[in-house]
Symmetry: C2
Subunit: 385 residues, 2 copies
């Protein structure tokens, strides 16, 4: 196992350095490094259950870091735009994915899953690029993150519906309403209550009677909220993001970030490499599968970009382009939906490879585009800068 951890970190670092020198986003280098050491090419490393835990912690610490850089007031300011982007960017991919799958003769259950796989943006990927470019404070970035959280809540609801139909042929509206209520209550309680508590007692993580270092209490909060979010059916990263936002209210935030930085350097490479490990190049040898992949990827890009771009026009021409592009990557979320569909028996064989492929292609094409868009527009200073 140590060998696998070593190989993943080494490959990630090499891919990272090569892509930085090419002027490309480092995370693409890390994903491709995963493809190369994975089962498709060298077969040095398998996507094992333990690596999946490290990958999960990777995206958890990534979003914790994003949360640390985010103030509640930043999110509030773009709130209505984020809601418009999140909702419209959820409906179109869902309907289009469902309709396309039906048109190709898939069953209703399968088509629901294809729709679901097109819904949720991977905020991890976009966040990593925005962080890398130091653009996390821009209004576009805050809109993307807010919309992605909303989008994830909606996708979670829809996935519960789709899984209910696939398993029992129907849905229990009451139980879904309960799940939705709990999710919204959790997000509101932590985002509003948690930040207020820490803002009121900014020394809570530094209190010497708790700890000589604020790191471990904050990491425990992060893992705890991530675990709760996962338990209630939300993505764990939403809990981690909220935890970061709460901790960001603490005293001496700058020193605190320095303490978290090494965890942020250590874990996220596992997340990116793990995405690469899931690539099955062999499944793409078939021309029909390749065509399906191209079609569904195009659909995924257009149906996400257009509504997000239109819904954020109020931010200005370039910023709305950034929002549209930034919402496109499906990353690990599409892979997770495909996995759930596979377990439920409705996403099988080449369709599984197509959905995973779509998730990865949308993930690979976005970072260079975002980078060139943001390179051209100097970061608009946030209210705190």
């Amino acid at each position: 196992m140590l060998v696998a951890l070593f190989l993943v970190l080494l490959a990630a670092k090499i891919g990272d350095e090569i892509f930085k020198r090419l002027g490309q986003p480092a995370l693409i280098g890390e994903i491709l490094a995963g493809v190369i050491i994975g089962p498709s090419v060298l077969a040095f490393v398998e996507p094992s259950a333990t690596l999946e835990v490290f990958a999960e912690l990777g995206v958890v610490f990534l979003l914790f870091w994003v949360g640390l850089e985010t103030r509640l007031s930043d999110v509030r300011e773009v709130g209505s735009t984020a809601i418009r982007v999140g909702v419209s960017g959820m409906l179109l991919p869902l309907v289009a994915g469902f309709a396309a799958a039906r048109a190709f003769g898939e069953s209703t259950e399968t088509s629901l899953f294809v729709g679901a796989a097109l819904v949720a943006t991977s905020v991890g990927i976009t966040s990593a690029v925005l962080l890398d470019l130091g653009a996390l404070k821009s209004r576009a970035a805050r809109t993307i993150i807010g919309a992605a959280v909303i989008d994830d809540i909606l996708a979670m609801i829809f996935l519960a519906v789709a899984a209910g139909i696939a398993v029992s042929g129907g849905v229990n509206l009451v139980s879904i309403l309960i799940v939705v209520g709990i999710s919204l209550a959790f997000v509101a309680f932590v985002a509003l209550g948690g930040t207020r508590v820490v803002a009121r007692w900014p020394d809570v993580f530094h209190a010497p009677r708790f700890s000589e270092s604020p790191l471990l209490p904050a990491v425990i909060l992060c893992l705890g909220l991530a675990a709760i979010a996962a338990q209630i059916g939300l993505a764990a990263i939403i809990g981690a993001f909220l935890a970061g936002m709460v901790v960001a209210e603490t005293r001496d935030r700058h020193n605190f970030e320095q303490e978290v930085a090494p965890l942020y350097a250590f874990f996220p490479p596992f997340f990116f490499v793990f995405i690469g490990l899931n690539v099955d190049l062999g499944a793409l040898a078939d021309i029909g599968v390749l065509a399906a992949l191209a079609g569904i990827t195009l659909l995924a890009v257009i149906t996400k970009f257009l509504p997000a771009w239109l819904a954020s026009r109020s931010l200005g021409a370039r910023e709305s382009l950034v929002v549209g592009v930034g919402m496109v990557p499906r990353g690990e979320v599409g892979i997770i939906v495909a996995g759930i569909g596979s377990t439920a028996g409705v996403i099988t064989g080449s369709l599984f490879a197509v959905i995973v492929g779509m998730s990865i292609v949308t993930t690979l094409i976005v970072p260079p585009v975002l980078r060139s868009l943001l390179g051209a527009t100097p970061d608009e200073p946030g209210p705190e800068a």
Copy 2:
């Protein structure tokens, strides 16, 4: 899985804080926290394979940190004493453990494993206490660490012999000599060659063309050497310790330690809690088992303390007491030997519980004693202090 990681860290932190307030070593609080959340009491967390990986990384980063604090010259200075302590502290427990098991009617194979389980000191436990007390630079501490490395090499050789006898009824001397040769060559090559390379190019981890931060390259080196050490049959922690010693030669070691500190805060609690998770209180309900545990623990303490104390008399009265006591904990090493013996089919049922119990009891009794010994003796400044 996130829930398990959260519970382990939370329990570790609570145990840690309680024991600090009691004036006791924090790691005992963490081990007992593991007992309480483990299968024996609350059964919140099982010692799963993934937690074992986190525990392994915990002790790897612990020894990496110890290596960072150790200079090759420090080890050289106490070299001959460390060799005497390591060799004599290996022979007596081995012979006594074997003889005792034979006297109680165990087979030769089983008795060899009992002897092997008594041999190897858990340098992780003693290091953690010495680190905690800021006493890592004392001559006693350096002697313990040097002796524990030697002791581990000898134990590894003996374990290969015992496993060979248990599995095939004989040993292949040539293959064992090859393993010994490779191990010694690895340790010497890394300790002498690696430190020289870094001493010559102290910027190697800071070179901007490699990385904006020296952390990841150093962590990769640590995992790589740990993996190699494990592959050739040594403990992974020996590789990690050597990696730390190599990296310690780098420029700007102080800043570097600040970067590693968060990993050192995050992972080691998993190691200590995992030891606690392995406790099976139920197996100790039998009076015969309890008596065997008391007997073997007494044997383990005496046969390790006496030779280590005598062999280090040249360090002075108190320092030699510290060395004798510091060599006593068997920690994870005893548990690992019991596990190998269990896989080989020669350590079964209550004997397994007794050996694991001995490992944990020797681990729990040492830290308070060390603390009171070192509290009474102000740390003798090392050559660099």
